[in-house]
């Protein structure tokens, strides 16, 4: 087994796969990567399974040392990655030799980068998932001195899959694709109009659990009978705040669900920073 040793933890990084699916009946959050597109691409570049465990890196990356040879790829946010002081590119296979040090520098765009490794990271599996979540898994975030295991792999050159092109547009757009939520029809014309036309700013209250928006929507809707919520559900609180639920969200909620982001919408908003602007663009499912 190879070990990836954490020399510096950076701001916030965690091991994630596609999440702890199938445990919603117990009230267990799904968790998993915030941006499935970037994580999937990071894995496919290395010919891994799409949902193999990756390292999700938020804004300021860690400094990592590899004990054995392998291959890695980085997708999503551009965080100026360096291998032994040499700049490396996103969206391509990087060969790693024993002793190599991976570090990150200035953020250029996006919020979350994904580091995949040949064969996926090995980590404790709880309820069918390696995704870190406080009180469910032993670890919740990357800490200095930690060691993450991976299978050794020859650092030989492999042809990059030519058909695999990372489309970065979704990282830079402010349009968030959304469907009408279950309670959308209870909104007044004025509320709907504001919801669709207003530019909303990402609030500093944003995490893997939920992203709050700064601008408020006048709200006179009654609370609903507690019902199911999923990542991408947009709740409207009694005070008029909009809350976009993300991957670590609870499984049920009692606020009206006015919008529901689709997969693209979730991936895009997962890449936004505090004070960045977004606009909901309503589309129809099917």
């Amino acid at each position: 087994m190879g070990k990836m040793q954490v020399l510096q933890p950076g701001l916030f990084s965690s091991i994630q796969d596609y999440g702890r699916f199938g445990n919603m009946k117990y009230g267990v959050p799904l968790s998993g990567v915030m941006d499935r597109y970037a994580a999937r691409m990071a894995n496919l570049i290395l010919r891994n399974n799409a949902n193999d465990a990756v390292l999700e890196i938020t804004m300021m990356g860690p400094k990592l040392k590899f004990s054995k040879s392998t291959k890695i790829a980085i997708t999503g946010a551009h965080l100026s990655a360096k291998l032994n002081d040499e700049e490396i590119e996103n969206n391509t296979i990087i060969e790693i030799s024993a002793g190599d040090i991976l570090s990150f520098g200035r953020r250029i765009f996006g919020c979350r980068a994904y580091l995949s490794i040949s064969g996926g990271f090995s980590a404790e599996e709880v309820f069918g998932s390696k995704s870190w979540y406080e009180n469910i898994t032993k670890d919740a975030k990357l800490e200095k001195g930690m060691e993450i295991s991976y299978k050794e792999d020859a650092a030989n050159k492999v042809e990059t899959n030519a058909g695999l092109k990372f489309k970065e547009n979704y990282l830079k757009t402010s349009n968030i694709e959304a469907y009408k939520g279950p309670e959308f029809d209870f909104l007044s014309d004025k509320q709907r109009d504001r919801l669709e036309s207003l530019k909303f700013s990402i609030d500093q209250n944003n995490s893997r659990m939920a992203i709050q928006l700064q601008e408020q929507l006048e709200n006179d809707l009654d609370p609903i009978i507690t019902g199911p919520v999923v990542p991408g559900t947009v709740q409207l609180t009694p005070s008029g705040k909009l809350i976009v639920l993300m991957k670590d969200c609870q499984t049920t909620g009692g606020y009206p669900r006015v919008l529901q982001l689709n997969e693209n919408g979730i991936n895009t908003i997962a890449q936004k920073l505090t004070n960045e602007k977004v606009r909901f663009s309503l589309t129809k499912p099917l």
């Binding site: 596609y18 699916f21 199938g22 445990n23 919603m24 009946k25 117990y26 009230g27 267990v28 709880v126 309820f127 009180n135 469910i136 469907y179 939520g181 279950p182 609903i224 009978i225 507690t226 019902g227 199911p228 999923v230 990542p231 991408g232 559900t233 609870q250 499984t251 049920t252 529901q260 982001l261 689709n262 997969e263 499912p285 099917l286």
Partner: protein, 244 residues
């Protein structure tokens, strides 16, 4: 018997939501559970989990739904073909609670506010068979129905930062057990030594939506005994089958 069909729609790219009548009642829950059971038997070629809340069923997909049209059609047919609902079987679990004042830190306040002796509060709380509607909020947190109106009391105006694991509380018309240490605004009347969520178990809790629980008052000595058994991993909840 004519009945309104529930509202069936797509929720995002990864789920189908089925909404029933907007009320909290055992009648609606029985209907929800009957159809949930049928939908769980339905052949859907993708990996799904079917869950329920008070008046909704959610079919949650692991990845984006491939053929929404065909899945929605199959779900609609379940409702068109089965309109005589029948109650599913359930079980009654006996849940030990110690109502000592050490644990029931709000018992004296409730006693004063509701003009009830503490013994009356305990007897009113242990009398009903509470229906388990579903789990949510925290892993292993049971949404229960059936609290006696005499025990309904508003939440604390200032929620506590820390409520102990196992704390049994009342908030408005709800009662429940905190499955782990967490902040919370309910009035606390006792503590339950049983684990409601064990991440080391394949099935982290035996209790399912539709089951019933009945609280049983235990003294401190028995509470400690049960706690010890729970820690050793050899405590068994008492349960009884209850036919639908």
């Amino acid at each position: 018997m004519s009945k309104e069909l529930p509202h069936i729609s797509q929720l995002g790219d990864n789920a189908i939501l089925i909404q029933f009548e907007k009320i909290i009642s055992e009648k609606v829950l029985d209907e929800v559970l009957f159809y949930k059971n049928l939908i769980q038997q339905l052949y859907i070629k993708q990996k799904v989990e079917v869950i329920n809340t008070y008046n909704s069923i959610l079919i949650n997909y692991f990845v984006t739904i491939e053929d929404v049209y065909s899945d929605l059609k199959a779900v609609k047919e379940v409702f068109q073909q089965n309109n005589n609902t029948k109650n599913i079987n359930s079980r009654v679990f006996e849940i030990p609670v110690c109502y000592d004042l050490d644990f029931g830190i709000d018992l004296e306040l409730i006693s004063k506010e509701k003009n009830l002796e503490i013994s009356e509060i305990i007897s009113l709380h242990t009398k009903p068979e509470y229906r388990v509607y579903f789990m949510g909020f925290l892993p292993g947190f049971l949404y229960l129905g059936g609290l006696d109106k005499k025990l309904q009391i508003s939440r604390k105006s200032q929620p506590r930062m820390k409520i102990e694991k196992g704390a049994v509380g009342i908030g408005e018309n709800q009662t429940g057990i905190y499955p782990k240490v967490s902040p919370g605004g309910w009035q606390i009347i006792g503590n339950c030594p049983v684990n409601f969520f064990d991440k080391n178990c394949e099935i982290p809790t035996q209790i399912s939506a539709g089951d019933y629980i009945k609280f049983k008052s235990v003294d401190r000595a028995e509470y400690d005994r049960i706690k010890e058994q729970v820690n050793q991993g050899n405590f068994q909840l008492k349960k009884q089958d209850r036919n639908g």
